[in-house]
């Protein structure tokens, strides 16, 4: 197979409004057209509902055929391991896990093979694989289908971790993930699939490791992922009415992590709140706070605060589930605490 050109030439940015799922679909479709080595595999990615339980792979099998859009048996470890082997052997797999929770079955090839092969082999192999999954709560899917597990993967050297919160970020980051020579764990959020936003048409990659300021503010910095970005924007409106100006930063990728942008924000505001749906204990928020304190202790006017999921399995009941998750009012309260 000829080596495709992978330089990105930004197209004239005609921007449409797409859902997060449509944006991901567009990224897959465009990358599969661009590079014949790219293929998709996973459970129910081809036939079910025309492509994927959440529609992310919709229509791909019609365009690219069942060789490149492969429904698999329910074999998560093999899905991950075959993807790793295929990547080492020259293909560019995008392996889908229907729920991030199921990646527990696939941790061996992700953690012990994909993440380490390049290093163990003295830098002489590449593992250009994307492990896609959706995570998060909010739909009553209960304890085994609602977790946010990004911290597992952030802990492992050799993996990159992307967590887009908007349709534009979803497309641009997935394009970059597919072109990356390293294994990327690409975590989507099930609640975000039907959210809409402007997405540039054409070949627009968003580089890994570049945070995005979703709202500029002077008084406090919020750093969060996935739904917490949107909840923080809602909190910012409430706080604005009180005269508190919240800056909202989405790191977009957790590995690599754009510490510089966050430290610059904290140097401006002097106050930091971090948020994620994932369990608070040993979550990525602790790491973010540790890094900011180490880099900019002098800039902090108050102890940083976490707004995170409770340390409890996600319950089924709607009231209990909502109580287990960080909400807009929790962010408002946390900001009150740091600006007090």
């Amino acid at each position: 197979m000829s080596r495709p050109v992978i330089e990105t030439t930004p197209a004239p940015a005609a921007t449409r409004v797409l859902t997060y799922a449509e944006a991901l679909n567009e990224a897959l479709r465009e990358e599969m057209r661009r590079d014949p080595r790219v293929f998709v595999m996973g459970e129910d990615v081809a036939v079910w509902g025309g492509g994927g339980v959440f529609g992310v792979t919709r229509g791909l099998v019609e365009e690219f055929g069942p060789q490149r859009v492969r429904d698999t048996p329910i074999s998560e470890e093999a899905i991950a391991a075959l993807a790793v082997g295929a990547a080492v052997a020259g293909a560019r797999p995008v392996a889908e896990f229907m729920y991030a929770d199921f990646m527990g079955l696939a941790m061996e090839p992700i953690v012990n093979q994909a993440a380490k092969i390049r290093y163990m082999f003295g830098g002489k192999a590449s593992v250009p694989v994307v492990f896609r999954a959706q995570e998060g709560a909010g739909r009553g899917n209960a304890a085994q289908h609602s977790q946010s597990l990004e911290a597992w993967f952030c802990h492992i050297p050799g993996l990159k971790v992307a967590v887009p919160s908007t349709p534009a970020d979803a497309k641009g980051l997935l394009v970059s993930a597919i072109r990356d020579e390293n294994p990327v764990v690409f975590l989507e959020h099930k609640i975000l699939y039907n959210t809409k936003g402007p997405v540039p048409a054409g070949d627009v990659a968003i580089p890994m490791g570049v945070a995005d300021c979703k709202r500029a503010g002077r008084d406090a910095t919020f750093v969060g992922v996935h739904t917490m970005v949107h909840k923080a924007l809602a909190a910012a409106e409430i706080l604005a009415a009180e005269g508190i100006d919240l800056e909202v930063i989405d790191p977009r990728t957790l590995v690599p992590f754009d510490l510089d942008t966050i430290v610059a924000s904290v140097r401006k505001t002097g106050r930091l709140v971090v948020g994620h749906e994932a369990y608070e204990r040993c979550g990525i928020g602790a790491e973010i706070i540790a890094q900011v304190i180490t880099a900019a202790f002098d800039a902090l006017d108050a102890p940083p605060v976490r707004v995170c999921g409770e340390n409890v399995p996600i319950p089924y009941n709607a009231r209990l589930e909502a109580a287990a998750l960080p909400q807009v009012e929790d962010i408002v309260a946390a900001v009150h605490q740091v600006v007090a």
Binding site: S75, E77, A78, F121, G122
Partner: protein
């Protein structure tokens, strides 16, 4: 068909196979020395006694074919054309090693040469090999991947998942189980549900065969059949090679789970001795055959010769 393939090996190829078997044995004997003198860290898992498996199997491959290996991987790497200098440097953790000293014995790899790595996880190469076979199929190439694993890996879940996928997608992979009788102290006949693991292939709908893993030509013939099938797009096979490791699992193995008589009995089947003896016998047979042919083709004496040579 298998016989024909085996016969097709040239004298040079056979000589090269014998040489590689010696190379593996001496490499691992030297590795044991280096370990004992403290030049190596971690552990080393000698392949000694099993040389016929790697050499016989890899003799069935083309250069573009691939293998995945195991924690006991030195033999596979050498048989697939690995450079003993770069391997030895890796064992000593040197910058010139295959992995620049970062991998050590259990992670030696040469992706360009089709060696997709030794592996520190039992069964860790099974999914990788199956995926490499998928990549070959997607790229429209007829390359085959050989997947070496031990009897211990027979009971890892990844083998079930991979075998099923390889079967439904007809992937060009050959699963080679090196049944060396023990996974650390766990006897294969006590820890695996069937005494003849090749029967498990039936559950996936592809061929499962066993062969004498102490006989390099038996391994070659059996694997060559499976490789030909995979290359023709007919899908995977399982080949169980019945063999034995002469040494412990690694240096420091208490070896309290088997007795010396058992080891000695296996050593009487030594694969290098056997191949050398077979090669010598074959050479002699060839010479005798030639003698017979010469004799048969030779003319009868003429009647005129009757009275010749009575006196000088």
């Amino acid at each position: 068909m298998a016989r024909k393939l085996a016969v097709a090996l040239s004298p040079d190829q056979l000589q090269s196979m014998l040489r590689t078997m010696h190379m593996i044995r001496q490499f691992d004997l030297r590795a044991l020395d280096l370990y004992r003198e403290g030049a190596m860290r971690g552990s080393t898992h000698p392949y000694i006694g099993m040389e016929a498996v790697a050499v016989g199997a890899c003799a069935a491959l083309r250069p573009a074919d691939r293998i995945t290996s195991t924690h006991r991987g030195h033999g596979h790497c050498l048989a697939k054309g690995g450079d003993p200098r770069l391997m030895m440097a890796e064992l000593l953790g040197k910058a010139t090693g295959y992995c620049k000293g970062k991998g050590g014995s259990m992670h030696i790899a040469d992706v360009e040469a089709g060696i997709l790595g030794a592996n520190g996880i039992v069964g860790g190469g099974i999914g990788l090999a199956t995926g490499a076979a998928l990549a070959a199929q997607l790229a429209g190439r007829d390359d085959v991947t050989l997947c070496f694993f031990g009897d211990g890996a027979l009971n890892q879940g990844i083998l079930h998942e991979s075998a099923n996928l390889a079967a439904i997608w007809k992937l060009p992979v050959v699963y080679i189980c090196e049944n060396n009788q023990y996974a650390m102290s766990a006897r294969a006949d006590k820890f695996t549900s069937v005494p003849d693991p090749e029967v498990r292939a039936k559950a996936y709908g592809f061929p499962g065969v066993s062969c004498d893993g102490m006989d390099v030509m038996a391994v070659y013939r059996t694997v060559a059949d499976a490789v030909a099938r995979a290359r023709a797009g007919e899908g995977p096979s399982l080949v169980v090679c019945v063999t034995y490791r002469y040494f412990g699992h690694h240096v420091g193995d208490p070896l309290n789970y088997r007795d010396k008589a058992e080891v000695d009995a296996w050593k009487t089947k030594d694969p290098i001795d056997r191949f050398q003896a077979d090669r010598l016998a074959a050479a002699v047979t060839q010479e005798i055959d030639a003698a017979v042919a010469f004799a048969k083709a030779s003319p009868e004496p003429e009647v005129e010769a009757l009275m010749e040579d009575v006196y000088a």
